[in-house]
């Protein structure tokens, strides 16, 4: 019973990491219906950026991540304005193929710059610190990850539904042409949305790098869990994305508890099972 509860808690916390990976995807999809296949690689890019700031300037990892935030925002802004905006339209091929190409370009660029070695962002004592809760012990880093995921989702929801910018996001998402008649410039709005998605990606990158080893090629493998979280959560629903991440995380930790080789497999099986039962995800939008 204790081990069951322990597995469940670890799974929920792991789900927080996947929700962090997925929140940026969910945001971009919600605003401009763009499926970004390079999102995982952009997270890995952010992880390398944080690592470089730590080694070059001798900074604390959290401070380094703070400095990386505006850099990644600018990168997302320019990427959307100069490249991804050109792909938007009724045809789904250009965005898929351009982001797929981008994924390969980032991976190989990172391989050239940083080699294929495994890296890790060291956060010192935090790495092994844990809190005893009854018979279970909860790692501080996994807990921080989960809380960050919740904070990011609360923050994004606030941004979406309580601010001027959020109203512009929703208006552009609903009807680009009418929104532009109201003085909104969709291209700028999309660029800001991708910039914010890159801020979320940087937060995800910090936890990715601090919790496990990473190398330039792991992006797609992490991205697939993020997509699963977004899809089973219901497209465009941020709380759904968190629920989706938790389902994948729990399925994976239970898989690993049965047989280590089943960890990833059971996560995918959970994804397929949810979609077979609920083809539009757990929290679908009324129209789409």
């Amino acid at each position: 019973m204790v081990s069951f509860a322990d597995t469940l808690v670890q799974g929920v916390l792991l789900g927080g990491l996947y929700a962090l990976f997925a929140a940026g995807l969910s945001l971009i999809f919600g605003v401009m219906r763009l499926v970004n296949l390079a999102h995982g690689d952009l997270i890995v890019l952010a992880a390398f950026l944080i690592l470089s700031l730590i080694t070059a300037l001798g900074l604390n990892p959290f401070v380094a991540a703070l400095i990386a935030l505006p850099i990644m925002f600018a990168l997302g802004f320019v990427l959307q304005l100069q490249v991804l905006n050109r792909t938007l339209g009724p045809d789904i091929l250009p965005p898929l193929l351009v982001t797929f190409g981008l994924s390969i370009v980032i991976q190989n660029g990172l391989l050239e710059a940083f080699s294929a070695d495994s890296r890790r962002i060291s956060v010192g004592l935090l790495e092994t610190a844990s809190l005893p809760v009854g018979p279970i012990s909860i790692g501080v880093m996994p807990l921080l990850t989960f809380l960050s995921a919740v904070a990011v989702i609360v923050g994004l929801n606030h941004l979406f539904y309580r601010t001027e910018l959020g109203r512009a996001f929703r208006a552009t998402s609903d009807d680009k042409v009418t929104a532009s008649l109201m003085g909104i410039r969709p291209e700028r709005i999309f660029a800001v949305a991708t910039g914010i998605a890159m801020i979320v990606a940087t937060i995800a990158a910090l936890y990715l790098g601090a919790r496990a080893n990473f190398d330039p090629t792991i992006g797609p493998a992490r991205l697939i869990y993020a997509f699963e979280a977004v899809i089973i959560g219901g497209l465009g629903s941020l709380w759904g994305t968190l629920a989706g991440g938790v389902i994948i995380g729990v399925a994976q930790t239970f898989g690993a508890a049965i047989n280590p080789e089943w960890q990833i497999l059971l996560g995918h099986v959970a994804f397929i099972a949810v979609l077979l039962a609920m083809p539009r995800g757990l929290f679908p939008r009324p129209t789409d």
Partner: protein
């Protein structure tokens, strides 16, 4: 209604295509004769090029014509390869027979995966195909009889005793390893020619018109009674069959298989997508041009490691952004030449304006 020889006719033939057909036949014959004069290394390169061409044609049929953008084609390559290995290693079949059965087995797998991926629309179809491929890879990695996660090798004897190898070895005086390469190469030529022939035939038939209608406007196509689900399912299964055959053939030649290599998204999907995008998506000529460019770039950049993929990715992005129809699209725009035209053209001479309209309506019905 109008039966004189001067009446309107609907055709897809053009002058260029009429000139091209005998050239294509000559090219196939020359390709079949290549082992007589080309070196073994050249034959191996040509084999690789032809198998990539088949994969590219298949992906192009899916994405460029049926609107099914898949990033999980590696599932059919890997499953075809593994099915062939199982039939040869565990059941002791002749590799040639095993390739054919592997194609059928891959189609059976596709019937299962279609139940899932066809529930997803557009971009999420792409993610679905990718997840399916990962699931099959992880399951195959549990198959200890075929080496589990580390994979296994084909017994050297099995390939040597493949149908046709002894014959090739006697006829050309090749050592058995070279004879295996030669037979695999011939099979690849037949597979590539057959695939292009099949796709061209499909596109010129009623089904091709239905496919184009669905791609251009699914609702309008449904309004004129085109069953979009049925035509897409047919294309998906046909592509699975051909891709499965190709995977099986590739692994007869490689003679060594492992889950990570056989289900590699980079080798069997990323390269293939780049080939189609650079050459020109939505045309039969595009993948042919693309595979030639791909081989040239590979030869030129062989020593530069990951720069090669980086450059390939950048080229694909630039093409997608600024020349969406690829290199072949640029060429066709300027010259109007098409070797595999599928556009219906109205030819013939009208003999009165009234009958002209009637004949047009009549012919339009027959399309």
């Amino acid at each position: 209604m109008v039966s004189t020889p001067e009446a309107w006719r609907v055709t897809t033939r053009t002058k260029a295509s009429a000139v091209f057909m005998p050239l294509a036949v000559a090219a196939i014959l020359a390709a079949l004769a290549a082992p007589v004069f080309a070196s073994r290394a050249a034959i191996q390169d040509l084999f690789f090029m032809l198998t990539m061409l088949v994969l590219a044609q298949c992906w192009n049929l899916l994405a460029g014509y049926a609107g099914l953008v898949s990033v999980g084609q590696q599932v059919f390559v890997g499953f075809g390869g593994y099915a062939m290995f199982a039939l040869v290693v565990l059941a002791g079949l002749d590799p040639l027979l095993a390739i054919l059965i592997a194609g059928v087995a891959t189609t059976a797998l596709a019937v299962l995966t279609a139940q899932f991926v066809f529930r997803l629309q557009g971009a999420y179809f792409a993610i679905g195909t990718w997840v399916v491929s990962e699931v099959v890879r992880l399951l195959v990695a549990q198959w200890t009889a075929l080496g589990g996660g580390t994979g296994t090798s084909l017994p050297a004897r099995a390939a040597r005793e493949m149908f046709g190898v002894a014959m090739a070895s006697r006829a050309f005086g090749f050592r058995s390893a070279q004879a295996v390469d030669t037979v695999c190469y011939w099979l690849a030529v037949v597979l590539a020619a057959g695939t292009i022939g099949f796709i061209y035939g499909l596109l010129r038939a009623r089904q091709g018109l239905a496919l184009a209608a669905v791609r251009d406007n699914q609702e309008a196509a449904r309004a004129v009674a085109v069953d979009s689900h049925r035509i897409k399912t047919f294309v998906y299964l046909a592509v699975a069959f051909i891709t499965g055959l190709t995977g099986a053939l590739i692994y007869v030649e490689k003679a060594r298989i492992s889950p990570n290599a056989a289900f590699s998204v980079l080798d069997w999907t990323a390269y293939v997508i780049f080939i189609v995008v650079i050459g020109g998506i939505g045309t039969i000529e595009g993948p042919i041009v693309g595979v030639v460019v791909f081989m040239i770039l590979q030869t030129m950049l062989a020593d530069y490691g990951s720069w090669y993929l980086l450059i390939l990715g950048v080229i694909a992005i630039v093409v997608m952004l600024f020349a969406r129809r690829g290199l072949w699209g640029l060429f066709t725009e300027r010259t109007g030449i098409q070797f595999f035209p599928v556009r219906r053209i109205l030819v013939g001479t009208p003999f009165s304006t009234v009958k002209e309209a009637g004949a047009f309506a009549d012919q339009a019905h027959q399309v």
